[in-house]
Amino acid sequence: MTGRRGAILLVAPLLLALLVGFIAPIGAFLWRAVADDEVASVLPRSIAVLRGWDGGAVPEAAFIALAEDLREARIRDAETGAGGIARAAARLNAEFPGLRSLLPATGRRVTQPGEEQAKILSAGEAWATQGPWRAIQRAGGPVSDYRLLATLDLRRDGEGTITQAPADARVYRDVLLRTLWISAFTTLICLLMGYPLAWLIATAPPRAQPWLLGAVLLPFWTSLIVRTAAWMVLLQKEGIVNSALLGTGLIAEPLPLLLNRFAVLVAMVHILLPFMVLPVLAVVREVDPRLPRAAASLGAGRLRIFRRVLLPLSLPGVGAGCLLVFVQALGFYVTPALLGGPNDQMLAWFIGFHANRLVDWGMAAALSVLLLAAVAVVIGLYGRLVGFDKVRTA
């Protein structure tokens, strides 16, 4: 048990545990973004009949197959709670809007065999057209890109070309832009506030340094949920900030500070600021104090010293800080959920919403792909522009 083999054996248990317990579940989850089996598992007969359909008049056999499929699925759902019809309907709705409600409603009409076509048509006029049948045909699986397209508010039309979703159904492009915007803005403010603070701590007298550093570390260690709670209390309509502002006479009416973008941004800056200060501090601490002195003795002004000497030397820390803040901001969930309104929610919230409230795990997975892609792009860009060998964190 020496050398490489021994070393690999030592790493193996952790590696295996993470592959089985972490990487595999995430992989399986992300696969759902493209898996397309909801309809195939509920309407197998209908898909089989429609496979030979040329797109002309809908064959009567299709009505009978659909009725049989729905009857069977209703019984299975009622026995197992699998919710097959609801999920197939949600999937079909992406191909033909209206089927989300129409399919279960149709199922309710055909509980007894006989006169299938009349019963199905009585559930909704749409069944007399080709639209819903073509939707069933197209959603036969086994994989589809429709969810990934949907995360960018795109869809395929009847011919299979990619088109824009109708205006009143467009959501996710906004959400993605919002997520990027909030993260970028948070990063910028953190930089503007954190950079001078890091310099101050680095150049403060040694006696003051532990106190200044402690004041950064205290919030850093305090739980995220506690800090979010603090901002909820501060920003309430009759909270501390408003009563202070009223007391000073700056405002006459309490301001609505909570449940909006402002609250989200303030709290996110507060929570992420230490992640900017600490990496910058780690770098500027190492700057040789003789360098600026040397530059000054050569006649450089203060601004010039900063621009030509100190700023370039601190850039690796700035890069690391921006990366840490931006990547973490992208995945924020709890803080916007508690402090923001409905149009301040970021990608992470929509992932949770799809997983927990709508039980659309496929869409949750597709949005996760989008979020992970954003994270990967940021990290990749960083590696390209700055390089990872220069990353240094406290």
Binding site: R74, D77, A78, E79, T80, G81, A82, G83, I85, A86, A89, A90, N93, G98, R100, S101, P104, A105, R108, D168, A169, R170, V171, D174, V175, Q236, K237, E238, P254, P256, L258, L259, G341, P342, N343, Q345, F350, F353, A355, N356, R357, L358, V359
Partner: protein
């Protein structure tokens, strides 16, 4: 020495693993009855009259959870295989949808006192009625001098400026928008069944969009009124009355055009605690227990004999009191059974833009 170390380390790791998963297994088999309700003042009242007394009477533990509705939550629990809930209080359309999709166990009516023990609306295959309640328009009398007269005023930001809140979701929101737009209560659902009617409701909402906040939990409206976060809100009638009675608030309620409905208890599919769950529902269904609820929070109850045990002055505050019920629009659960998923999707896209 070397071998001993290995053995020790492996033994410790296996031991920890077994202990953890063993604990998990034991828990999965013998977990406590978990009852899920709607939090806040309502659940506080339930705790006092149902949960604690049941625990004492049966000498068993009962775990509480709160939720804020959404049939998707129940689907997610059953379908992810990670359900820990046994008894859940659900809204009327969730009762119908979940029963059809097999999310609930069929009720054994004999085990909970028989169908005749309850008023007819409370009886169905999967659920037993829990409370009758209303969504009402509420405001804080100490802050708002001009009392709102109805939903039309809710949308009139010139008469009453300031932020206002509705429950997040299409149910109640779309009805209120149409009522405010002058639609007669009898025509609301006929209109909502058409695209034009839904468009009309969203257009009405668009007009006050920037002044709207959305609540999800029943405890939020009274809290937001109390803190001045909003000037007007729709709310569960009981929460408003409870805030007046317990927290010294002076909230007003407009009963005109209130939205009236019924919540039910269900037992989740595959619950390992089915017998205990039935026993709990039997306890909750007893008239003398139910009669304790309205004095604490004014909701109507479902045991036939309960109303006879409730003082008249309290009966008059309930949504079931004639003068309140006659001004009400009854929420159409059949309509929402057919349309909830569709309108949910549209509402969610609209609200998050």
């Amino acid at each position: 020495m070397r071998r001993g170390m290995w053995r020790g380390a492996i033994g410790a790791a296996v031991g920890i693993g077994l202990a953890l998963f063993g604990a998990a297994g034991v828990q999965a088999q013998g977990r406590d009855l978990t009852v899920v309700s709607w939090g806040g003042a309502y659940q506080d009242a339930q705790r006092e009259i149902y949960f604690r007394p049941w625990m004492q009477a049966r000498n068993q533990r009962l775990l509480e959870e709160t939720w804020d509705g959404g049939v998707g939550v129940l689907r997610a629990r059953v379908q992810s295989g990670a359900n820990t809930w046994d008894v859940v209080q659900v809204e009327s359309e969730e009762l119908l949808i979940g029963c059809e999709e097999g999310l609930y166990e069929r009720l054994d009516w004999e085990a909970i006192g028989g169908r005749d023990n309850y008023i007819p609306q409370a009886v169905s295959d999967c659920g037993v009625g829990a409370i009758l309640y209303s969504f009402v328009l509420a405001w804080d009398r100490t802050r708002l001098q001009t009392a709102p007269r109805g939903w039309a005023d809710f949308f009139d930001t010139r008469r009453i400026p300031g932020r206002r809140a509705l429950r997040r979701g299409p149910k109640t929101t779309l009805e209120i928008a149409l009522l405010a737009d002058g639609v007669a209560p009898g025509d609301v659902y006929r209109l909502l069944a058409t695209d034009a009617g839904v468009d009309r409701a969203f257009r009405k909402l668009d007009a006050i969009r920037s002044d709207l906040a959305w609540w999800e939990r029943g405890s939020q409206p009274p809290q937001w009124l109390a803190s001045g976060e909003v000037v007007l809100t729709n709310a569960y009638n009981g929460r408003i009355a409870a805030a007046n009675a317990n927290d010294g608030r002076d909230f007003g309620i407009a009963w005109d055009q209130n939205l009236y409905t019924l919540d039910s208890w269900v037992i989740m599919r595959g619950s390992p605690n089915r017998q205990r769950a039935l026993d709990f529902l039997r306890f909750v269904g007893q008239a003398q227990n139910q009669a304790q609820l309205p004095p604490r929070i004014p909701y109507g109850v479902t045991a036939r004999a309960a109303n006879g045990l409730i003082p008249n002055n309290i009966l008059a505050q309930l949504p079931t009191a004639p003068q309140n019920a006659q001004a009400a629009l009854q929420i159409d659960d059949k309509f929402w059974l057919d349309n909830l998923d569709r309108l949910n999707a549209r509402f969610n896209a609209w609200v998050s833009r």
